[in-house]
Symmetry: C2
Subunit: 171 residues, 2 copies
């Protein structure tokens, strides 16, 4: 019997892909809600839970960047830059699609073995350094789920019919 | 040189502990906000983002249960039952403390090797079965972060001064 083992790839890329795929479906429900009620969709895409919080557009952009940059940093490659100019549901969906294609291009061997790799990340207080697995579990995953959940919460707060299975997705 | 390796314990227990510790600090800021503004704290603990969403109390209870039950299921042990009768900030903090003590009682050897263990979980549609690592990455972690982020978002929406570092915690 072989010893089971967990890989950095399995703990990152497919988990990011699942989170962004679910976020895409959540946005689709937001767009359909605006359409069926003849709302100006920008009321939803520009909404936020408090005046100094990010609006929905920015929550989606940060979720995308967290997944994209985390994959790149774990693999030790340079991530593509995206302009953060999305304003509409179709533009946000296209941004998610771009990142999903990028994530699916990683091969396990690029990410596996990054458990102890030194990951450097810019932060408001200067560059911070993490061990690969600490970066994944204490920054990348919580930050990605935070922004995806906040996007969900903004739409839910606006009356879009969503349930937690939309956030978790189906296996 | 030894091959780096990622363990199921490292990917679960300390990550759950960090999330619940941060949630405790977030609730402390909520309690201090109510106190300093002479608000009835139950306005915050009972608040929700939409009429048919869970209030703050229930978000905290579900975050606790997700961590507690996930640890127990990965280890193949029975989790203690908690009554879900918390109404106040101190009661919610005590619930979090109880779960933190429980989580800290797990030893790595109880969780390590659970990558491929069959995990059974009750669900509204009947019992569902997951492979250990799929349970951790596609249910336990996203569900825990979802409820912690929603608790944060409820308090943020109510004007409590929180920033994302309160959610992520400091390494």
């Amino acid at each position: 019997m072989s010893t089971p083992s967990l890989s950095m790839y399995a703990a990152s890329i497919p988990v990011f892909v699942r989170a962004l795929t679910n976020l895409k479906a959540i946005l689709a429900k937001g767009a359909a809600h605006a359409e069926s009620r003849k709302l100006d969709a920008s009321v939803l895409t520009g909404d936020r839970l408090y005046p100094d919080m990010f609006p929905l557009t920015r929550q989606v952009q940060v979720a995308c960047d967290t997944a994209k940059n985390s994959a790149a940093r774990l693999a030790g490659v340079e991530a593509p830059k995206h302009a953060d100019d999305e304003r509409t549901f179709p533009e946000l969906q296209a941004r998610l699609d771009k990142v999903l294609v990028y994530l699916r291009g990683f091969e396990p061997k690029q990410i596996d073995g990054s458990e102890d790799r030194a990951i450097k990340m810019p932060s408001p207080g200067g560059e911070v350094s993490f061990r690969g697995q600490d970066y994944l579990f204490y920054f990348a995953l919580p930050n990605l789920f935070f922004h995806a959940a906040t996007a969900y919460n903004i739409l839910r707060h606006d009356g879009v019919e969503l349930g937690k299975m939309d956030f978790l997705g189906r296996p």
